[in-house]
């Protein structure tokens, strides 16, 4: 058996238990590798709990995926009925039978056709089963439901002895077997088969709480192996059974330093300028009508714009409703849906139990491989579970998403407006970033304020911002701090207007002073120039007097000389010379 997994406890070199992969999604994780190879496993549960389906899947997966042919011995359904019943899961039993991968043998036991007279044994069954096993080289066997023998035959002593022999014989054949049995009152099985099959016992349960049904699986015992002991929810859908293992409780996650934008620039700025960490979890909580869905849609829109995939789980509105509503704030989600980047999954929380929601979310995420997931709103999940259950579910979801490095945004409706008292389903301590949107009532208006309650590992703003939704989209404004306190909405706008007016008036006043000064300067300058002119004219007068004096002196000197010359007789000659 090439596909059997070795048990990890093989360190000492002692013989260890081989395990065969069941191929059922999730079951191998819980059992640590599958069912015990070469031993019978008892699968018990009430009617309709999925025993037959699980055992068929065990056989089919074994044949298809692990190359281990299998025999399905049906005590309840005819081969054709069985083939029809599992065809909905995409299992083609007829073809597998033709290919000699599986063999279905219907054991018909009809009490009215049977008469018991004296001693007998079940060698016929042994031979039949042995022949079926040998004809296709089967490694896996299912007996569904062998307890039907008890209703067809009356000699219990023989039956019990023969069943004990059958299980021993199966072990000696070395086939990995599943024996299904009906759940009994106060016992695991109606006929106490657990006494005979004691290597591995799996219990299926189908419980209805608050009118919502959840299928669960529990490994009651697994001899020689460690196994998960919890009750694990499982889902039956068109792909068969998926068991949801509770994710590891170890806190050893890879962390990313990469940042992703929230799609709102001003919000990114509040978050250290770059947005959230990739793979982190974000909670947006707030009272009704504060724009939580809008924030979530922005985030989804941004992821799609980056060409990343996003799944939007809507628990309140239908996809078309969200698309229409978001169009009004200038976000076109339809385009992303058409391009295959955005996937909406809308379901009422009451559609199925919490665990089922979780399983279906897991499955969708595994399939679509998004990098961003949005759950809007988680508050509605409360309708199908208690607060602690929702919290447990979200822990597991966050764990899983962190493993896959998927960024998740939850929205939550808060009914209690006192922030410190409400805990948002107790997830606020789990998430990495918590945005809180709240109403601010002032002057007969209701405005929105947003702040970051926490954001692990980054420098984030401690301010309250006014959160505005317009036709153009979302924006965050600095909250206006006026002289009378915090102002929002139209109060903020009117205050801003008032201040603008004041500024204009002030400017006006300043301008007038400026003009006054320049006029004064002009007057002064004029005065200065007139004084200068006065000074110049006085100076000129003085100069004139000087010149006259000099001229007078010169003339009188000349006259004096002439008189002198006349007196000395030279005056005539002189006069002649002058005449010449």
């Amino acid at each position: 058996m090439a596909e059997t997994q070795k048990n990890k406890s093989n360190r000492s070199g002692l013989p260890y238990l081989h395990k065969s992969n069941s191929g059922i999604s999730g079951l191998d994780e819980i059992t640590g590798g599958g069912l015990p190879t070469g031993r019978p496993t008892l699968l018990c549960g009430e009617a309709g709990s999925g025993k037959t389906l699980m055992s068929v899947e065990f056989i089919v997966r074994g044949a298809l995926e692990y190359n281990e042919p299998g025999v399905f011995m049906a005590f309840e359904e005819k081969a054709e009925e069985l083939a029809m019943n599992v065809a909905s899961l995409g299992f083609d039993l007829q073809k597998l039978q033709q290919d000699k991968k599986i063999r279905v043998d219907h054991v018909h036991i009809e009490r009215s056709e049977i008469e018991e007279t004296g001693e007998y044994d079940l060698d016929g069954l042994f031979i039949r089963l042995g022949h079926a096993i040998d004809s296709i080289g089967a490694k896996r066997v299912v007996l569904d439901t062998i307890e039907n023998l008890f209703s067809g035959l009356s000699n219990q002593n023989i039956l019990r002895a023969e069943l004990r022999r059958l299980f021993h014989w199966l072990k000696s054949k070395g086939v990995t077997a599943i024996i299904t049995a009906e759940r009994g009152e106060g016992k695991l099985t109606r006929q106490g088969l657990e006494e005979y099959v004691s290597d591995c016992v799996i219990l299926l349960d189908h419980r209805i709480v608050n009118q919502i049904s959840t299928r669960r699986l529990r490994i009651v015992k697994y001899r020689g192996s460690v196994h998960g002991t919890n009750e694990y929810p499982f889902l039956i859908d068109e792909e068969g059974i998926s068991v949801l293992p509770v994710t590891s409780l170890l806190l050893e996650k890879e962390v990313s330093m990469e940042r992703v934008s929230s799609g709102i620039k001003s919000l990114d700025k509040m978050l250290g300028g770059e947005g959230f960490y990739k793979g982190s979890s974000i909670l947006v909580s707030g009272t009704a009508g504060t724009g939580k869905t809008s924030i979530a849609s922005y985030f989804a829109n941004e992821a799609c714009k980056r060409k990343e995939r996003c799944i939007y789980f809507a628990f309140e509105e239908s996809p078309n409703q969200i698309i229409r509503n978001m169009k009004s704030i200038n976000i076109d989600l339809k385009k992303h849906v058409d391009d295959g980047f955005l996937l909406f999954n809308a379901s009422r929380p009451t559609l199925y139990g919490l665990e089922m929601h979780l399983v279906s979310i897991y499955k969708m995420i595994r399939k679509f491989k998004p990098s961003v997931v949005i759950l809007d709103p988680i508050t509605n999940l409360i309708t199908v579970g208690s607060v602690s259950e929702v919290k447990a579910m979200l822990i597991r979801l966050i764990d899983f998403l962190q493993d896959e490095q998927i960024t998740v945004m939850f929205t939550a409706l808060t009914l209690n407006t006192v922030v410190n008292e409400q805990t948002d389903e107790g997830v606020s301590s789990l998430v990495d970033s918590w945005l809180y949107v709240r109403d601010i009532e002032l002057d007969g208006e209701r405005n929105r304020g947003m702040y970051i309650m926490k954001s692990r590992g980054m420098n984030h703003s401690n301010q309250i911002r006014e959160f505005i939704i317009t036709d153009e989209g979302i924006d965050l404004m600095d909250l206006y701090l006026g002289p009378d306190g915090v102002l929002t909405g139209s109060a903020r706008e009117s205050q801003q207007l008032r201040e603008k007016t004041g500024e204009a008036l002030k400017n006006q006043a300043a301008n007038r002073m400026d003009r006054e000064i320049s006029r004064k300067r002009k007057v002064l300058e004029a005065k200065i120039s007139s004084l200068t002119t006065e000074f110049e004219s006085i100076e000129e007068e003085l100069n004139k007097v000087y010149l006259e004096e000099t001229l007078k002196k010169q003339i009188s000197d000349n006259n004096k000389e002439q008189i002198l010359n006349l007196r000395t007789g030279q005056s005539k000659k002189k006069n002649d010379d002058d005449a010449n």
Partner: protein
Amino acid sequence: MMMMPINPEVNTMEDMWELKLYVAGNTPKSATALENLKKYCEEHLFGKYRIEIIDLLVNPQLAEGDQIFAIPTLVKKVPEPIRRIIGDLSDKEKVLVGLNIIPVK
């Protein structure tokens, strides 16, 4: 496989009782069953019965067709209805009632 002697006087198929006895090897239970069967047939169906013995150890593929799970099993196909009688056939009355040879009392 062995055939029991047929009474030449009764030859029409309608009157024939076709009985198959499934065994697995030669076990005491099978031997007892066959012994008992022969005795009842000689007493009540003299000359108009045919017994076929099928050893599933030799022909295991025949087990599925006749829905055999217990050994020994006696199957009566003809005349209708089909009846199966399991065990060593030690309870004479049950066998005869089961084979519709005598009515239920």
